[in-house]
């Protein structure tokens, strides 16, 4: 590659109305000016229905779970039915004797340990699912059972059964003090001297991702023209390329031999990275049986082995003086299952004065935790937002006024103002449980607030887009990444069309084929800021290539041509123009094909964080303990809004999942048997239509200048503040705090009873 010249300088107008700054960025010669507040958009920022909306709403979109091939076999995984033990025998002969069973494989050997009820031991495949289930039941596994511990309290006791290896279930403590020069002594002193103090324990539960499409995929082997084996896998994944890498490693194949396809996937929320067990089972059994194999988990398996968000037990001491938080001292531990790992995040939004955070994880005989939408944050936020509220209350300050005094980000200030206006914050009970909003009846209403942050601006990391312009006017953008339901396909198309200047209806986007250029795995809200900038850069490169080609046919210097609003025109004589279709016809038998790597992020930018504010209104029935969320106002920014419709949908989804975390979800483990008791979707509660509050979303526009598109990640920050906001609203309605998730009626009633009397 030739070395690029970055001498061009442009000044960008960044920020938002009332808070605009100018920053200079250096650009390569062939780079278009990054989008900023001055950019006039044709499409970006409007409500644009997603490109694949009709395919999904008509049932025609084919998900990995939907792939069928002639002769395809169905696989099932045999799973441990004990929580802890050693395998003494695995006998698959009974399964193999069943007519229709085509292959079996072992996932464990005799002597191996199983560490949770539901751990995979063997796999079978057969001509149909019913026979595969017969075969699964016919596999006989015997175990030497060992004592187990499935909850933190049991696993952290002295002499507790060892969950996996070593002589303790506890991971070493991590201690983080901020700022670093503060001594532990100083932390204690600050707490002792604070005007207002909170000292309390908060608990959050284990939550499973419960994506509606389970983990797994379909594998199909073929041969290339020289007779070498090739493998195609349709995977339900958030990381098509990480699945590709996993398959290549597992099956000792070159990248050229394998393709992973994920055009549609039914939700991941962090649990679907890499080649997971069912996908590897499908690929291995397909090879063994010589036929395509589908291996998808069922709902029970998904709960047991598909990942989860660790729980947490937070012991907190916090203090504030003169309206400022001066100390935040927290010890937190939880369980991420047998693999451990259970951190929580709660020191990023407010200035905490001095903080000390002691954390460790406790292993339990449960399925492994995986990343889940804003890992560590919703649980940390539930604690933080209540602590902050309690401090404000003790200082006799309005909780938002108090937050603003401890928050240095300008956009959040504007977002608080917007949210207060939309919910009418003046209605809030000045004292918890007392006021016009709380009323005098058994059903009491209250308002509560929570804030969120994130800071994801994407990265270069080899992401590239291919743009193909055809003589019939059609434009296709290709990238190998996946759309997990966030609208990735749509925002790529909008950005590419915006940069190229073609009509949006001519734009098609092909995602999820790993033979197309590399794209990111969808985690950490990295996808949108990565791919939108890439699509803008590639759209611009395609425009230059296209103009170069047709300029010869038009006998006009390419540098004098431009494209806008679906028209090619001569810059200094705009009357001279060709509509998009006529211009494309000039290509004749040619096409324009450009593959362009994404540009780097810029250093000159507006804010390192994105912000968000949510205010919830709840109604608590003090006789039954039932909490109903009446309304949530959610204001979020994530840089430039590309598609307002999908942006708002992300907020809606975050609020609803946050509410679900707050009030409904809970993985219930039976301590005695070591089994999950609610491994389905009727007793593992997620909210339904009748639980829905009114949700008002505000997509708060910011031009951030972090990358050429100015887009930041949004998926995760939207789920963070909801549980804390609801908890604070409950306290405002009733005057009592519920410090444990989910905030179910029993806990609400217990808190009311502890205060004395239910009214």
């Amino acid at each position: 590659m030739t070395k690029k010249n970055y001498d061009r300088e442009e000044t960008l107008k960044l920020g938002f109305a009332g808070n605009v700054v100018e920053k200079k960025v250096k650009l390569a010669d062939d780079q278009a000016k990054p989008w900023d507040l001055d950019t006039k958009f044709q499409y970006a920022g409007k409500h644009i229905p997603r490109f694949d909306g009709l395919a999904k709403a008509s049932g025609r979109a084919k998900y990995s779970y939907d792939m069928n091939f002639p002769g395809m076999l169905h696989a099932r995984i045999v799973r441990a039915n004990i929580p802890n033990g050693k395998i003494t025998d695995i006998d698959v002969s009974g399964a193999e004797a069943i007519p229709g069973v085509k292959a079996t494989m072992l996932l464990k050997k005799v002597g191996d340990r199983v560490r949770f009820d539901g751990e995979g031991v063997a796999a079978v495949c057969a001509t149909n699912l019913e026979i595969a289930e017969d075969a699964m039941r016919a596999v006989v596994v015997t175990y030497e059972k060992m004592a187990h511990a499935v909850i933190v309290d049991d696993a952290s006791k002295d002499g507790a059964p060892i969950v996996d290896k070593g002589d303790t279930n506890k991971s070493p403590e991590s201690v983080n003090i901020n700022p670093r020069e503060v001594s532990e002594d100083e932390i204690n002193k600050r707490f002792a001297a604070a005007d207002a103090k909170v000292e309390a324990t908060y608990r959050t539960q284990v939550q499973t991702h419960s994506a509606l499409e389970t983990h797994g995929g379909v594998a199909k082997w073929d041969k290339d023209s020289s007779g070498n084996p090739t493998l195609t896998v349709w995977a339900s994944t958030q990381g098509s390329f990480s699945v590709l890498d996993g398959l290549c490693g597992n099956l000792k194949l070159d990248r050229s031999q394998v393709e992973v396809i994920c055009e549609y996937m039914g939700g991941g929320f962090g649990a679907k990275f890499g080649a997971d067990q069912p996908t590897l089972v499908a690929a291995n059994l397909a090879k063994k049986a010589g036929a395509p194999v589908k291996c998808m988990l069922n709902r029970k398996e998904e709960h047991l082995a598909g990942g989860n968000r660790p729980d947490s037990i937070h012991h907190v001491r916090a203090g504030a003086t003169d309206g400022k938080i001066v100390v935040f001292d927290v010890t937190n531990y939880g369980t991420g299952g047998y693999t451990g790992g259970a951190g929580a995040r709660n020191i990023m939004i407010y200035d905490m004065g001095a903080s000390r955070k002691v954390e460790y994880a406790v292993k339990t005989n449960c399925g492994p935790a995986t990343a889940m939408r804003a890992p560590g944050h919703p649980q940390g936020s539930f604690v933080l937002e209540q602590v902050v509220d309690e401090l404000a209350e003790k200082l006799n300050m309005d909780p938002i006024e108090f937050r603003l005094k401890n928050d240095r980000y300008p956009m959040r200030k504007a977002q608080y103002e917007k949210a207060m206006e939309l919910i009418d914050w003046s209605r809030r009970n000045k004292k918890g449980g007392e006021g016009a909003l709380a009323g005098t009846g058994p059903k009491k209403r209250g308002l509560g607030v929570g804030a969120s942050t994130w800071g994801q601006n994407g990265n270069r990391d080899g992401t590239a887009m291919a743009v193909i312009i055809n003589a019939d006017g059609g434009v296709e953008v290709r990238n190998g990444c996946q759309d997990i339901g966030t609208g990735t396909r749509t925002i790529i198309g909008i950005c590419a069309a915006e940069a190229l200047g073609c009509p949006l209806e001519n734009m098609k986007v092909r995602l999820g084929h790993t033979r197309d250029p590399y794209g990111p795995a969808s985690g950490g809200s990295v996808t949108a800021p990565t791919v939108t900038a890439a699509a803008k850069d590639a759209g611009h490169a395609a425009k230059l290539a296209f103009l170069d080609k047709i300029s010869k046919k038009l006998s006009v210097d390419a540098a004098k041509l431009d494209i806008s609003l679906g028209k090619v025109f001569v810059k200094d004589d705009p009357a001279k123009s060709w509509n998009w279709h006529d211009a494309c016809k000039l290509l004749g038998v040619e096409t324009v094909e450009v593959t362009k790597e994404r540009s780097d992020n810029f250093r000159a930018n507006f804010s390192g964080q994105v912000g968000g504010v949510q205010i919830a209104e709840v109604e608590v029935d003090t006789e039954t303990g039932v909490v109903r969320v009446i309304k949530v106002v959610a204001v979020h920014d994530a840089g430039l809004v590309i598609d307002r419709l999908t942006f708002e949908s992300q907020i809606l989804g975050g609020v609803i999942q946050g509410m679900s975390f707050a009030l409904f979800e809970n993985r219930v483990m039976d301590r005695k048997s070591g089994k999950m008791l609610n491994n389905n979707l009727e007793s593992y509660k997620i909210p339904g239509s009748l639980d829905m509050p009114e949700i008002v979303t505000v997509a708060f526009d910011i031009s951030n200048g972090h990358n050429s598109a100015g887009v930041a990640g949004l998926g995760e920050p939207t789920v963070i503040p909801t549980a804390g906001a609801i908890a604070n609203a409950i306290a405002n309605a009733t005057g009592v705090r519920v410090r444990s998730l989910p905030m179910t009626p029993d806990k609400v009633l217990a808190a009311l009873a502890a205060k004395g009397g239910s009214r």
Partner: protein
């Protein structure tokens, strides 16, 4: 003990609900006959909650199916298809695995989520809770049948327009539920729409926009969803 059925009656009851009994019985009648008893228990909860109760059909002649594969004729979207399957195959698996009609999704496989929703004889049903053999003779309508190839139903279009979907895996089930509701409810309201889809779950969190889409489809009118602050 006056409230409890006599021993022999109780045995009969148990028989009527056992899985084996299901395998032995005919058509859809057995499945729906159990429903009224359950639904009636809740019937007086609220006037507003209109529960559609499939008409009770008395148990007719008992017919044996299986073991082993049997010929099953299913009338799906107006076309009769013959399958050779075991009697234990659910309607959902027959649709998805045998007929490659994958619009109905398998999510919980036990009547807990609505992703597999279809319309049978005018009633909204979970296809994972029906055995294909029971559905012979019934009019089965799946999402593949609500609009001709290359076209989209009003409900599907409204879903796309309102962004009433994210990952889209729950969407076909919701589309069937809303389609059924709008066919049967002359004056759909926000409340009636919410009630209609209480048997469907969405994990991504699209409910509010589904309500908007349903009301938009009901009017056939234009306009953006009302859960958003308009720009």
């Amino acid at each position: 003990m006056t409230d409890s059925p006599a021993n022999d009656e109780r045995e009969d009851l148990q028989n009527a609900f056992s899985r084996r009994r299901f395998l032995q019985t005919l058509g859809a009648a057995a499945a729906v006959s159990a429903a009224p008893a359950i639904a009636n228990a809740n019937a007086k909860t609220s006037e507003a909650e209109k529960i559609t109760i499939p008409p009770a059909t008395p148990l007719g002649e008992v017919k044996n199916f299986g073991p082993g594969e049997v010929d099953v004729k299913l009338k799906i979207n107006g076309i009769v298809r013959t399958l050779r399957i075991e009697p234990r195959v659910t309607l959902l698996d027959a649709l998805r695995d045998r007929l490659d009609m994958t619009g109905a999704k398998k999510v919980c496989d036990r009547g807990g989520c609505g992703a597999c929703t279809i319309i049978m004889n005018g009633n909204l049903m979970y296809s994972c809770m029906l055995l294909a053999v029971e559905c012979q003779g019934a009019e089965i309508e799946t999402i593949e049948g609500i609009a001709p190839e290359g076209e989209f139903s009003t409900v599907s279009s409204a879903f796309a327009k309102c962004d009433a979907l994210q990952c889209g895996f729950c969407t076909p089930g919701f589309v069937m539920t809303i389609t059924h509701h709008l066919r049967n409810e002359k004056n759909p309201t926000m409340e009636s729409v919410k009630q209609s889809c209480r048997g469907n779950l969405c994990r991504c969190g699209t409910y509010n926009r589904i309500f908007d889409a349903a009301l938009l489809a009901a009017t056939g009118g234009a306009g953006l969803p009302n859960t958003t602050e308009k720009k």
